[in-house]
């Protein structure tokens, strides 16, 4: 978000807005003399605009400008398919929008869950479906035999049944929210699914999976358990969930699965080539930052903290963002929403600091 401070605070400077901060930094570092000079000037201008804007009291009009434009009308369209334990997608259509429950627990959970997630994005962030244009929510349940996974394939969600030993279900609400939120990431510009940007993609999905559960249960940040995939592990697995945003690294400790490898601080960042560079591992760091921020702000996490995270995704414009890039983008969102000196902004800086990221 950039404004031309030489003209008027609510007039966008298109040049400034088009070039994202990371690109300016690259240009300033690698460009020829003239390009370096241009990039450095724009970076300086960005910084000045940010400071000047932050110093100004936020008028109601500015608050309104910072809020996402609400979608015009609720436009929920769901299509739940039964994969019949086979590989082919999407499988047989078993429940369309407005149809009564099927009696199949997985199909009905996928249908109801998709509605709850849609409403989180629609009512709290003004977003009409995953693409903000009414995309039909297609999901397949009973995907493959004994399939221990759920995924977003770029077009739809798919949920296995689990093998009964390691997993027993994948249609639990936080998992549904997680998979659908990968779609939101995709249609918001995307975060490359590898390394730190991949871990940010995973973390955004976890954050909004958790917010889905908390909003449905009307739980404040302090009341919530912050678990992702609560109760989906097999009965004999020693664990409570897939991930714990409150205490990353403590979701399970089991003879078969090993110990939950998630770090909560940059000091424990895991360098690995597995899991696309540890996307499900290092996501623990931004997950924990969101948890800490929500605790510091208090109240409902889908309120102010959720808005900061959602707005940051809409504005980051950097598919290979690092944790530092993301943290800075959330700071920009907080400044836009609340002002530089607001407690909400100071708390955010503190939350990032607590996980080892200085912004």
């Amino acid at each position: 978000m950039c404004h031309n401070h030489h003209v008027h605070h609510h007039v966008r400077n298109p040049i400034c807005c088009i070039i994202p901060p990371h690109m300016l930094e690259t240009l300033a570092m690698r460009g020829d003399k003239r390009t370096r000079s241009m990039a450095q000037a724009l970076m300086k201008q960005n910084a000045e605009v940010r400071e000047e804007r932050a110093a100004m009291p936020l008028a109601p009009s500015a608050m309104a400008a910072a809020a996402p434009a609400p979608a015009a009308k609720r436009n929920l369209k769901r299509a739940i398919h039964d994969g019949g334990k086979k590989v082919g997608l999407p499988g047989k259509l078993v429940r369309s929008e407005g149809q009564p429950p099927t009696g199949d627990k997985s199909a009905d959970e996928a249908y109801d869950g998709a509605g709850v997630v849609y409403d989180l994005y629609f009512k709290e962030f003004g977003r009409d479906s995953l693409d903000n244009a009414g995309l039909k929510l297609v999901a397949t349940v009973h995907h493959r035999a004994n399939y221990n996974n759920a995924f977003w394939n770029g077009e739809q969600m798919a949920y296995g049944d689990g093998d009964g030993r390691i997993f027993r279900t994948f249609t639990e609400l936080s998992v549904v929210g997680h998979e659908m939120s990968h779609g939101v990431v995709q249609f918001s510009g995307g975060l490359l699914y590898r390394g730190e940007s991949g871990a940010l993609n995973e973390s955004f999905a976890d954050v909004f999976g958790a917010l889905t559960v908390q909003r449905k249960a009307n739980q404040s940040a302090s009341q919530a358990d912050w678990l992702i995939g609560k109760g989906i592990l097999g009965a004999n697995i020693n664990g409570v969930a897939l991930r714990n945003m409150k205490a990353p690294g403590t979701a399970y400790d089991d003879a078969l699965l090993g110990k939950d490898p998630q770090p909560y601080h940059m000091d424990f960042f895991v360098n690995t080539t597995g899991d696309n560079g540890g996307v499900h591992i290092n996501s623990g760091i931004p997950n924990h930052a969101f948890y800490l921020y929500s605790q510091l702000v208090g109240g409902n996490a889908w309120g102010k903290p959720g808005k900061v995270w959602y707005d940051a995704l809409q504005t980051i414009n950097n598919s290979t963002a690092t944790f530092n890039d993301w943290a800075r983008e959330t700071m920009d969102s907080a400044v836009n929403l609340f002002g530089l000196g607001a407690m909400e902004t100071l708390y955010l800086r503190r939350a990032w600091k607590l996980v080892g990221i200085s912004v």
Binding site: L242, L257, G258, P261, G278, I281
Partner: protein
């Protein structure tokens, strides 16, 4: 022919199971044995990926498939599930099930 299948990734990050599947094709039921021998015959492993996959996909399973041929030669491929055909994934499911 011996087949080893390891998985990683997925929503949990640890694949379908932390345990690899090891099977000797000779011990598979005859119909499955023929399918496995045809699909994983020498030189075919590298061409298993039939699709580029979707760059926006998330939580997909990654398969590491290693083949030890009867003549001692070895082959290995690392491929994401959405790059494999439905037939190959069905075959992998059947082999993993038989290998339990």
């Amino acid at each position: 022919m011996k087949i080893t299948i390891k998985t990683s990734g997925g929503i949990g990050g640890f694949g379908l199971s932390p345990e690899p599947t090891d099977v000797d094709v000779e011990n598979l039921p005859s119909a499955l044995k023929e399918r496995a021998r045809a699909a994983f015959s020498k030189g075919r492993l590298k061409s298993l990926a039939k699709s580029p996959g979707n760059p926006h996909a998330a939580d997909m399973i990654n398969y590491e498939i290693s083949i030890a041929h009867d003549n001692g030669e070895r082959e290995h491929v690392d491929v994401r599930e959405d790059k494999l055909s439905d037939d190959v994934l069905d075959l992998i499911d059947a082999i993993r099930s038989a290998g339990r």
